[in-house]
Symmetry: C2
Subunit: 490 residues, 2 copies
């Protein structure tokens, strides 16, 4: 049922080889110039043909007075021009035979008045030439795997596995740095703008087929084609999770989103229903959406909702337990068999209830390797949540205990943490059970950074980790329901 | 009604001059040694007297074989000894005339069995000698203003204004680094442990009287003296906000907290009632608790719930609006008068609805100074929420637009951001209205760091900022209710 990616409307937009660029000049401050800078900065490998009525060269690139003069038919037109110029340029692109465009320019439907007619006009032109376009009033797209960043923000981290389509450009580009704080990156990012031609449903189609995208995230203020959205999502969810953050369910949210994109949003319950039917997981914030993406992209999926929590700090363990319970996850007692296996590692002050609270561990390898191994092997649980805390200073103090001091201690601390990270990551590779770490430390902590870079899911608090675990269970249930529903219908 | 701080049970524990230290040795790995390291590392100015049966010197300090040999009567005994030694040492301290102790040692009530009797024993000894102590089974206290850090973790940031009492030691010490990521620090941090003698109510009394504490935070798994808690809180709330994170309301939370501290927690509704009656704001996570503290400590209090949102990005503005509305805050239309004043700064693509969406601003001083000034002066609103985004690269690109490139651009970017931060912070000082910024950038961004250091409240997402604004309105309402109630009773 699904199209191959090459046949989706977005393929050439996300993976262009030859770009006709409108609006870049040698003026630094111009938006088009900035966007061309971004494209060049990420090392785009294809050809860029700036079109400009006066310039001979733009940022070192040979420039053409008209799209008609180009030596090839580009597969993408990138248009960053004053509103009133857009229709004629789009028409010229159509005549040249260009089939895809990104229109960054604003001043269309979102401003009302004449803008509405202008938007209708560009839609008609596109139809006439069988063109597909993203925008207008968007801030572009990014495909780091193709070294293609057609947005205002520099993309500086590695390519990732999150495919994002967003009705707010800010939530694509302004999240680059946010995501890099988790070691994450995009597989694809699409600012859909006014969705005059390509909309969220088309994005789903592309992201569903995109081999680099492990999980799809959506920022939604309105769904314009409800039935198609549901059908498309249901065709994707069996093999790829979709997470959405919807804003507009409250009165002020509704007004704000209307003012933002002219979107008519609906009440929360309506959208809850659409998401449930679509198999889409609803997040309650942008941060939560990306938390869910991180875990869904990094972890094996759970087979059920039975969670074991491991901690050496009572408070964070209690918080994780409390939130798991509120989220409908089960914290069953630990089996006799597993308790027996844990016994050598748990001091008398500790507890092998669930949460398992080690309180104190002489050997960090017990806490991060031996105990997790036992828990991952436990047959009466489906997932493990574990508190991560390894501040450099505590490792250094332990080194000092062994007589290693000063610079040597700093160096040895690094070596120890690197070794340990590798051991933990290698251990987890052997299991098909989700394992989520939680910590109040971030990537500035070497242990956390190493582990995240090796594919271990770690979130910055017990609440966030427990909610992400719940989202994973929710995904498995939604998928099951859709797959079963599909079979029944067949 | 309130005691002066010198007469509270915790005064000498938080502000000792002479400490008898039990359990420190020259073994690096010993917990007592680590704690002594922490005390020394923060530059404690008082005298420390290690007591050790065998050592002559401990970490360079003259050591005494018995507490009886000390040349003075210390005002604090700091006990980090094996469980079974604690009663006799406490007895000796009592005989010596020491009136205050911190007992870090575990193995008491929290382990059940003999531990229960042992805890009773130390309570009896304390009563006999009129001693007050924190613990047992705690991880100490920190008072950065007194350069006193008696916990396992190094305290490396500046002194702050948050007074924390916690039934989890982790949530005192393991948050040092977390708080420093917001430029925050503690005015006082108390890990209450088993609360055998000093409990949360005593902590409230101290923190309420503490001049360095602008806002009180509590991590709670149980409240042991309900009536006293309510009375004490009600006496504090009129002049100082209290925020609590309570865990134990769910079934798993209840079991986990029982296992952690032997606390019998109660259902959410019971605790909601206690908090409402006490005037305490309830947070839903540790992060949220500190978000609330940040804003309550930094901002003037709002006179009502009418909020104006300013943004240049539609998505983040819509999110803030949606959450404000869900939280019961009001987003009224902007008055004609204010619209008129805003007109020069808002381009035709922008909107002066609420959220005010500038979309694009040629001059960042408009966005961060001129517009906020108009909004802070607006008489029909009580608070301003504003989206902060000033990535270095965009300022640098703007510099390039003025012909400033290379290293010069980097340098000028820094100067520009520093100047601008100062201007924004100075502007806000002139108003008694709360102003909260939200951004997905953190202190790694120079603008954010500068502003936070100058006392401007900035939180890392629109959801978190809107919820914190709501907490501030909630505080004002709770305070009003208590003050009115008090007057009625009088």
């Amino acid at each position: 049922m699904q199209k191959s990616i090459e046949h989706t409307a977005l393929y050439h937009i996300m993976n262009p080889e030859h770009i006709a660029m409108f609006g870049a000049s040698n003026r630094f401050a111009a938006m088009g110039t900035n966007l061309l800078s971004s494209i060049k900065a990420l090392g785009f490998k294809g050809d860029i043909y700036p079109v400009h009525p006066k310039e001979v060269q733009v940022m070192g690139l040979k420039t053409y007075a008209s799209v008609m003069d180009l030596p090839v038919v580009p597969d993408l037109a990138f248009i960053v021009l004053p509103t009133n110029l857009v229709p004629e340029i789009l028409e010229a692109c159509g005549k040249k035979g260009i089939k895809h465009a990104i229109i960054v320019s604003g001043g269309f439907k979102e401003v009302g008045g004449d803008g509405i007619a202008l938007e209708k006009k560009i839609c008609d032109i596109a139809d006439k030439y069988s063109m597909r376009f993203v925008g207008p009033n968007c801030i572009g797209v990014v495909n780091p795997h193709h070294r293609f960043n057609a947005t205002y923000f520099p993309y500086q981290q590695a390519s990732g596995f999150i495919g994002m389509a967003s009705q707010s450009g800010s939530f694509v580009t302004q999240m680059f740095d946010y995501l890099s704080n988790f070691g994450l990156g995009y597989s694809a990012g699409i600012s859909v703008g006014n969705e005059a031609n390509i909309d969220l449903v088309d994005c789903l189609e592309y992201l569903g087929a995109c081999p680099n995208t492990k999980v799809i995230s959506l920022y939604i203020e309105t769904i314009r084609r409800g039935r198609e959205f549901i059908d498309m999502a249901r065709s994707i969810v069996p093999h790829k999770p979709i997470v959405a953050y919807y804003v507009g369910g409250s009165e002020a949210g509704k007004k704000a989103t209307f003012s933002h994109t002219g979107a008519l949003s609906g009440p929360d319950k309506l959208y809850d229903g659409i998401f449930r039917q679509s198999g889409v997981i609803r997040a309650q914030s942008i941060e939560e959406m990306f938390d869910f993406c991180l875990c869904l992209g990094m972890c094996p999926k759970p087979e059920g909702n039975r969670v074991i929590i491991q901690t050496h700090s009572g408070g964070p363990g209690a918080v994780a337990a409390d939130v798991c319970c509120r989220e409908g996850l089960k914290l069953n007692p630990i089996s006799q068999n597993t308790r027996k296996k844990l016994a050598p590692y748990v001091p008398h002050t500790g507890s092998t209830n669930n949460p398992i609270d080690i309180t104190y561990s002489k050997n960090p390898m017990d806490y991060y390797v031996s105990i997790p191994k036992v828990l991952m092997e436990d047959e009466d649980s489906d997932a493990v949540l574990i508190y991560f805390l390894m501040p450099d200073h505590s490792v250094q103090r332990a080194m000092e205990g062994f007589g290693i001091t000063g610079e040597k201690a700093v160096e040895q601390t690094g070596v120890f943490i690197d070794d340990q990270s590798k051991t933990v990551a290698d251990l987890l590779k052997g299991f098909s059970k989700p394992f989520i770490g939680f910590s109040f430390y971030t990537r500035e902590n070497r242990f956390i950074k190493n582990l995240q870079d090796k594919g271990v899911a770690i979130l910055p608090s017990p609440v966030r980790a427990a909610k992400a675990m719940s989202a994973m269970v929710q995904y498995v249930n939604l998928r099951e329901k859709i797959t079963r529903g599909g079979k029944k219908a067949a």
